[in-house]
């Protein structure tokens, strides 16, 4: 495999954050792909802290959306009476600065009605939100609905940031950092959310700079395709063991999670570096492929190939949760051979277009 892409190595996440800010000097967007556990959320915090902690003129200039944002809301389930269920807003957050004066409800609702069929009401005195569906008041919404609701709040605020004429409550926002917005969303909503967000960001490209990081391949891919015509950077963020972090450019390459995984498996196989957790990855890809084709069982997608029964048994046996990515264990020779065979059979059967990004 040839090395086509440059690798940038960084000792700390702070350095990565500095690099991202530098990229944004002459790009509108940065897309960042990273697996869970790489440090995306910490990176987003580092990113915003840079402007906050600098010696001269410390200000916050980043509106960010991540797991902490979701923590700005929490439920009061009225455990005693089970009637007055409502969501409590942490009103101290700058996130909510424009809530009261800009009649945000209609703005939020115009997003919400695309994804959900419930209504809500903000109590500006007590800073709570109640939900209702038709005549049912104070309903409890599901975690997914709650997430999409919070996401709609974020979209509404982003719209205000973009529309700001320098005097609004969000005029301090220079950067928007979106970190994995789609936890607990199904695929349909992930695509919907991605294209809505992309539309909004394209409109505001001269107003704010944006970093979007995700581990969700589908979301990432939609974002990439929507935004690729605008000046942007896209990186694959790797954890480089104890040595820090690696940013790898994914420019001009269609980015599919499963294809990336397959490439990585192929590379591992070719370099004789197969670890036990690679079996998990392989199985996960076979699962997805089977689902895609509508098969009942993951092994159906390698049916017809030689040693089919053996393969399927091996995958079942060897793909266990106990293999951790963080503590790689080299596979024993027999299993490694088996792994190579299955992988080759699978790749031969489906002829994937593997990008040569992963050197």
């Amino acid at each position: 495999m040839t090395i086509k892409k440059k690798l940038y190595k960084y000792k700390t996440l702070k350095n990565v954050a500095v690099r991202l800010r530098d990229d944004l000097n002459n790009h509108h967007f940065i897309l960042l792909y990273a697996y869970n556990g790489t440090g995306k959320t910490r990176l987003s915090m580092q990113f915003k802290d840079i402007s906050k902690k600098r010696k001269k003129n410390p200000i916050s200039d980043t509106l960010y959306y991540n797991a902490y944002t979701e923590d700005l809301f929490h439920w009061n389930n009225d455990l005693e009476n089970d009637i007055q269920r409502h969501l409590i807003i942490n009103k101290e957050s700058r996130f909510f600065k424009g809530f009261k004066e800009l009649a945000l409800e209609e703005k939020i609702f115009s997003f919400l009605e695309r994804y959900a069929d419930f209504d809500f009401r903000i109590d500006y005195e007590n800073w709570t939100i109640t939900f209702n569906k038709g005549e049912q008041a104070n309903i409890k919404v599901s975690r997914g609905e709650e997430n999409i609701f919070i996401w709609c709040i974020f979209l509404a605020i982003t719209e205000l940031v973009i529309d700001d004429d320098g005097n609004g409550p969000y005029n301090w926002v220079k950067y928007i950092y979106i970190d994995d917005p789609i936890s607990s969303l199904d695929d349909n909503n992930a695509i919907g959310v991605a294209s809505d967000l992309a539309k909004l960001l394209k409109k505001g490209k001269d107003k704010v700079k944006v970093v979007i990081s995700s581990h969700h391949s589908l979301f990432y891919n939609v974002m990439y395709n929507e935004l690729k015509k605008i000046k942007h950077k896209s990186h694959f963020l790797h954890k480089n063991g104890v040595d820090g972090y690696v940013l790898m450019s994914t420019n001009e390459t269609p980015f599919f999670h499963h294809v990336a995984l397959l490439s990585e498996l192929k590379r591992a196989s070719e370099n004789n570096m197969v670890n036990t957790y690679h079996f998990n990855m392989l199985r996960s890809i076979l699962e997805k492929t089977s689902t895609f084709f509508g098969y009942d069982d993951f092994s159906d997608c390698i049916s017809g190939v030689e040693d089919e029964v053996l393969f399927s048994r091996a995958l079942n046996l060897l793909s266990h949760g106990k293999y951790s990515i963080y503590q790689p264990v080299i596979m024993n020779e027999d299993n490694k051979e088996l792994f190579d065979k299955i992988l080759t059979a699978f790749l031969d059967k489906y002829e994937f277009q593997l990008p040569e990004v992963f050197a």
Partner: protein, 544 residues
């Protein structure tokens, strides 16, 4: 039964039918069908009454055994049409002159209900033809598209024409039976219609409240704009030539102005309304007719107010410019809009400035204000943000204040609307006004607490209107604020800066407290002594 009880009962009856029938249909869709049928019923009865008068003793006696007007078949008019073919043309001409419209006998409500009752397969087609006839032929002036949102071929009614026909049979029969006992006079039906619109607004799962201003708030605006502009103390004007609501929704605010004026023996020349949402626009036109307005007494335009798509408001010749004696509005709060260079040069905004993208509040305000007559009053509902937001809005606000156009700022309690809990205010504007101060009314604490929504009672409404009328200053409620003070505050109109509602700390008079304590101590002594005497007599230990 008083009229108010009548319409409420009728409204509730209709609401029950709605709940009973809507099933898979959502409230919004059902509302459109239901209101259209009510409208047809109203038009029919009104027409038959007029025909009865017109034909006098020639009006045929009904052969029907049915006592309830909804079910009288065949309609007497049909009998008359059959027997007087050659006179039909002359008759219809007369009717157009008298009630401004014509309905063919077979499209009359009683005929429709009969088709429904007998589950006749022709119902769907008859209704379709009937609606089309009313839109195109009934009225002299155009009522095109009045029923455009009523899709009788909608999948929501049923998959096949037969299924749709059956469903309509059921719906119409239910409605007919549910309302047969109620009076057919204009006010009852019109008010019930309003009541129902309000109910639908409250019960809809969507933010449908946008087209409906709660009656109590609407009453405040109405009662303010009908008062004498220069000297409100003189009471309501006797005549308003032209009244405008440039975001009129279902038109109830306009009708309220008319009602308030009529209650004070005044009259309105013509009512003007503009509405962007086509369904709501049709609702408004029906609402006007249902309240007994002639088609010549009002003009409702379907179009975008911010883009000023209404021709009569776009007259370039200043001498032909239309001006209104009273303007009321409850525009959508902080609507996102797309101001551009052309709009910046627009005659409505040019001298004041362009509202920001994130909130069209001031764009609406300036639109209305441009068409306000010198002797006119404008009252508009807006979110509190317009009072203190910075940037372009600050510049517009400052200009209005310096020109002495803002007369009164009224802060209302929060949670009064269906669609939002946001606190809102009423701005009263005038082109020329006597006083050079601004009256602030902080009514945010005077309301009736409700479960989902707060409301205002008559006493709360009266207090606001009277304070405006007599420009009263009341502690912790209202105050006249000089322009100097407003200037000192950077033209920020935040109500709590001028009228604080927080209670003053209670002054404690130490001398008084001292006296009170002394007297208490004396009382204790007297009573202990008395008690001890009894104890002594009984030989029990004393209290020390």
């Amino acid at each position: 039964m008083t009229q108010k009880e009548q319409y409420k009962k009728l409204g509730d009856a209709l609401w029950d039918i709605a709940n009973d029938l809507r099933g898979a249909m959502n409230a919004d869709d059902f509302r459109d069908y239901m209101l259209s049928f009510l409208f047809l019923r109203y038009l029919s009865f009104n027409y038959e009454e007029a025909a009865k008068k017109e034909l006098g003793k020639d009006y045929p006696k009904s052969s029907s055994m049915e006592g309830r007007a909804d079910f009288v078949v065949p309609p007497p008019l049909e009998i008359w049409y059959d027997e007087n073919q050659e006179d039909i043309e002359e008759f219809e001409k007369q009717m157009r002159r008298k009630v401004h419209y014509v309905i063919k006998p077979k499209y009359l409500w009683s005929n429709v209900t009969e088709l429904a009752r007998t589950q006749n397969g022709d119902l769907l087609e008859t209704l379709q033809k009937g609606f089309r006839y009313i839109e195109n032929d009934s009225f002299e002036s155009s009522f095109k598209g009045l029923f455009s949102e009523i899709n009788l071929n909608s999948e929501k009614l049923g998959k096949t024409p037969k299924e749709r026909n059956d469903k309509l049979c059921k719906v119409i029969t239910k409605i007919a039976e549910g309302i047969a006992d109620f009076s057919t006079d204009t006010d009852t039906l019109g008010d019930a219609y309003e009541y129902l619109i309000g109910k639908f607004a409250a019960g809809s799962g969507k933010k449908a409240g946008e087209f409906y201003t709660p009656q109590q708030i609407s009453t405040i605006l109405s009662r303010i704009v009908i008062l004498d502009t220069q000297d409100p103390v003189r009471g309501p004007k006797s005549k308003l030539d032209k009244v405008l609501d440039f975001a009129c929704g279902s038109g109830s605010l306009l009708l309220n102005v008319k009602k308030q004026l009529r209650d004070n023996k005044g009259t309105i020349g013509k009512i003007y309304g503009q509405e962007k949402n086509v369904t709501t626009y049709n609702l408004a036109r029906m609402n006007m007719l249902l309240h007994g307005m002639k088609d010549t007494e009002f003009e409702i335009f379907h179009g975008d107010t911010l883009l000023n798509q209404w021709d009569i408001l776009n007259e370039m010749n200043p001498s032909k410019k239309i001006e209104f004696d009273a303007i009321v509005a409850n525009p959508p709060f902080s609507l996102r809009w797309e101001p551009n260079d052309t709009l910046a040069e627009d005659f409505r905004f040019k001298s004041h400035g362009l509202a920001p993208k994130s909130a069209a509040d001031f764009a609406f305000l300036l639109h209305g204000f441009h068409f306000l007559a010198k002797e006119g009053t404008m009252a508009i509902i807006l979110p509190h943000g317009v009072l203190f937001r910075g940037g372009a809005e600050e510049r517009i606000r400052t200009k209005l204040l310096k020109d002495n156009n803002i007369d009164t700022v009224i802060g209302l309690p929060s949670n009064l609307f269906y669609s939002t809990g946001i606190p809102v205010c009423i701005l009263v504007l005038k082109k020329c006004k006597k006083e050079d101060d601004v009256l602030f009314i902080n009514a945010s604490e005077y309301y009736e607490k409700g479960k989902r929504q707060n409301s205002l009672e008559d006493k709360h409404i009266n207090k606001i209107v009277e304070t405006y009328q007599f420009r009263n200053e009341i502690e912790r409620y209202s105050r006249k604020v000089s322009m100097e003070e407003i200037e000192k505050n950077g033209y920020n109109l935040n109500i709590s800066r001028y009228v604080s509602i927080s209670e003053d700390e209670v002054q404690i008079d130490l001398k008084e407290v001292n006296e009170k304590l002394t007297s208490i101590n004396e009382k204790i002594k007297t009573n202990t002594d008395k008690h001890n005497e009894f104890l002594k007599e009984l030989g029990l230990p004393l209290i020390i």
